[in-house]
């Protein structure tokens, strides 16, 4: 009897306790308003913050993340009914701040969120910081590039001159063969050097197969193969005693070399490619015909070879056409790459172009003297002055090739502008849905976020609502939500997003598929400084 009574009493007590606890149980709290408002730009630093919730809460974490990423915990706050009033730190500077909060409501579940606001204006992205430079690797890459150019322009170009301008004496064929050899050696080592540069690896890892794989995997890999083909053809042209065969090999070598330069490099990557790639090929082929002729012609003239005069004649007839093409293509590429005159002096790329143009002016002056003053005496039999002058011309050409090889390290103004505006993109694919998400530009500051959404099996997905939820746990930034709109191009977009810090952000897409079905996709995206 007693035991039953005891049992009942304890059950009633337990039940009462359950009811008491359950009475307190309520919903997850949600933020209903904030001061400053989420996404606001305010003129002056606020003296206090206020967060209003759907029900009474107890703050667990209140912190402000400054524009430089420093987080400050806010300990000075008061809870009034459903509001939390927080004293602001005194020294808030200009830029985008994040007020991150984490509270627990009566149901015991902590919930968090962030209020993003800017003082004065949203934080702008700091200027891009250049990659750290490994001088040894860069020098090696530069020297290899010069070697490649020597092989292509003086070697393959020289073989072309041997075959077409001085086919009888074949003066300077050994020098041409040596230059082709330098080109081949440079082509053979350059994938390794390219790999070192691509991976940011030190010179010591030159023998590492992974480095070579990385080098060959870039578009430069194809260039190297084509260059090797061009140089082998050039070598055969220089060695061949059969005039027709020699001309065929020389022409193939020149064409392959010109094509090789169009498959990688800054200029070939520029739009419109239907214009830039042929321009690169024309510029390269015309340059090679011109500068390649210097060594065989100069040596033929100095040695007084029997075909020196006829070779000089052929060269003089042909060269205005080549130079016209060279200049036209060069102007097209310069305009596309430099974009604005100011960039000529304002960027490393522009400065190299100016230096190259300066050398080119010297080269044209020498060429004009050769053509106007020295060619006639040379044809009349006194070729020493012209041979000397051609020697000087060759030296200037070497300087120009060295400068052109330096472009390897200077992104053109066009590419710098594109790099800054480049979006950060990520593809998310689950069984239920997939999305191509991009943040433009993919760097800190005000950004536009857009997503192309499809079903998991690539079908159309006509969502009712889409929202982006950003968080940066590493920086202490709790999630904040931005509703997306449909601009009408098949994407969902939110323009009122400010991402104040660089680094890993988590992004969640909330896709309301029907009134009753929601799909949430979560991913990480890297935001550049």
């Amino acid at each position: 009897m007693r035991s039953v009574k005891d049992g009942m009493a304890s059950w009633i007590a337990a039940l009462a306790m359950l009811l008491a606890l359950a009475g307190e149980a309520a919903a997850h709290a949600s933020l209903t308003a904030a001061e400053p408002r989420d996404g606001a730009v305010v003129a002056v630093a606020p003296g206090a913050f206020r967060l209003d919730f759907s029900e009474p809460v107890s703050p667990l974490v209140l912190r402000i993340v400054r524009p430089d990423g420093a987080a400050v915990d806010l300990g000075d706050f008061a809870v009034r009914d459903r509001s939390v009033e927080i004293e602001a730190p005194v020294e808030l500077g200009d830029g985008t701040h994040v007020l991150a909060w984490r509270v627990v409501s009566s149901d015991g579940h902590p919930v968090g969120g962030s209020v993003v606001f800017s003082i004065g204006a949203p934080s702008a992205a700091p200027p891009p910081i250049a990659d750290p430079v490994d001088r040894k690797v860069r020098t090696a890459v530069w020297l290899a590039k010069i070697g490649l150019y020597l092989g292509l322009f003086l070697g393959a170009g020289g073989a072309f001159a041997l075959a077409w301008f001085v086919p009888v004496s074949r003066a300077g064929s050994r020098v041409v063969l040596a230059l082709v050899g330098i080109g081949i050696a440079a082509a053979v080592v350059s994938p390794g050097l390219q790999g070192l540069d691509a991976l940011g690896a030190p010179v010591g890892r030159f023998a590492d197969p992974a480095v070579w794989r990385a080098g060959l995997a870039t578009s430069f890999g194809l260039t190297v193969k084509l260059v090797l083909a061009a140089l082998v053809a050039a070598a055969l042209a220089a060695l061949s005693r059969n005039a027709a065969l020699s001309r065929a090999f020389a022409t193939v070598g020149l064409a392959a070399g010109a094509y090789a330069l169009t498959v990688s490099g800054h200029a070939s990557a520029a739009d419109p490619q239907w214009l830039t790639r042929p321009a690169v090929a024309l510029h390269a082929a015309a340059s090679a015909v011109w500068v390649g002729a210097l060594v065989p012609l100069g040596l033929a003239l100095r040695a007084g070879a029997p075909d020196a005069a006829s070779g000089l004649m052929r060269f003089s007839t042909f060269i205005p056409v080549a130079v016209a093409g060279l200049i036209a293509a060069g102007i097209v590429l310069a305009v596309i790459q430099v974009e604005t005159p100011a960039a000529l002096v304002g960027t490393a790329y522009g400065c190299l172009l100016l230096a190259k143009l300066g050398c080119l002016a010297v080269l044209f002056a020498i060429a004009a003297v050769n053509r106007g003053r020295l060619t006639r005496p040379a044809l009349a039999g006194d070729a020493r002055a012209l041979a000397r002058s051609i020697g000087a011309e060759t030296v200037v050409v070497l300087v120009i090739l060295a400068i052109a090889a330096g472009w390897r390290f200077t992104p053109p103004p066009r590419a710098l502008a594109i790099a800054a505006a480049q979006p950060a993109s990520v593809h998310i694919h689950t069984l239920e849905a997939m999305a191509d998400l991009s943040v433009t530009p993919g760097r800190t500051g005000p950004v536009s976020v857009s997503a192309m959404i499809m079903t998991g099996d690539f079908g159309p997905l006509d969502a009712k609502e889409v929202a982006f939820v950003f968080a940066n746990p590493d920086a202490g930034i709790e999630p904040f939500r931005r509703e997306a709109a449909k601009p009408g191009d098949g994407t969902w977009r939110a323009d009122d997003v400010v991402l104040p810090l660089a680094g890993h952000w988590t992004v969640r897409l909330d896709i309301l598929v029907t009134d009753f079905d929601i799909v949430r996709l979560t991913t990480e995206i890297e935001i550049r400084p």
């Binding site: 359950l18 759907s54 009753f516």
Partner: protein, 176 residues
Amino acid sequence: MFKHIITASGLLALGTASALAHVSLEGEEAAIGSTYKAVFRVPHGCEGEPTNVVRVRIPEGLIAVKPMPKPGWALEKVRGAYAATYEYHGSQVSEGVTEIVWSGGSLADDEYDEFVLRGYITPALKAGETLYFPVVQECPGGLAERWIEVPAEGQSADDLEMPAPGVAIIEATGGH
């Protein structure tokens, strides 16, 4: 005594997810082969606005659904095809009510109300599963509270922002 408190707390812990101010279901269990009475507890409107539409999507496996009319609210029964065909009192059933809409009423943000329907728990549902009823509360001005999230594998309803109310399916309670 202490043991009973623990038992009660255990029940509380289990019940918490549905005892919140989310839309929740009154009963905690529904037996296979029985007619289940679902009582939806709607504890508020949306962000200060009154709720004037409550929509419930009928989950697959619950058939012969009948809502209970509610004074002050218009009742709409959206019919559609089921994903499967079910046997019900000797006949084959392949379509029926798939959504119920109570509309035109007013449930202020500081009020509480209940919405009731019943349906037959078919043997297609397995014991140990939870049967989820996605619910949408609509308010004037396009506002809506959507209790439509179903936990994925390894998730609990507590992990969700907008958990759909659910009821645990249990074995048939004999004698049917």
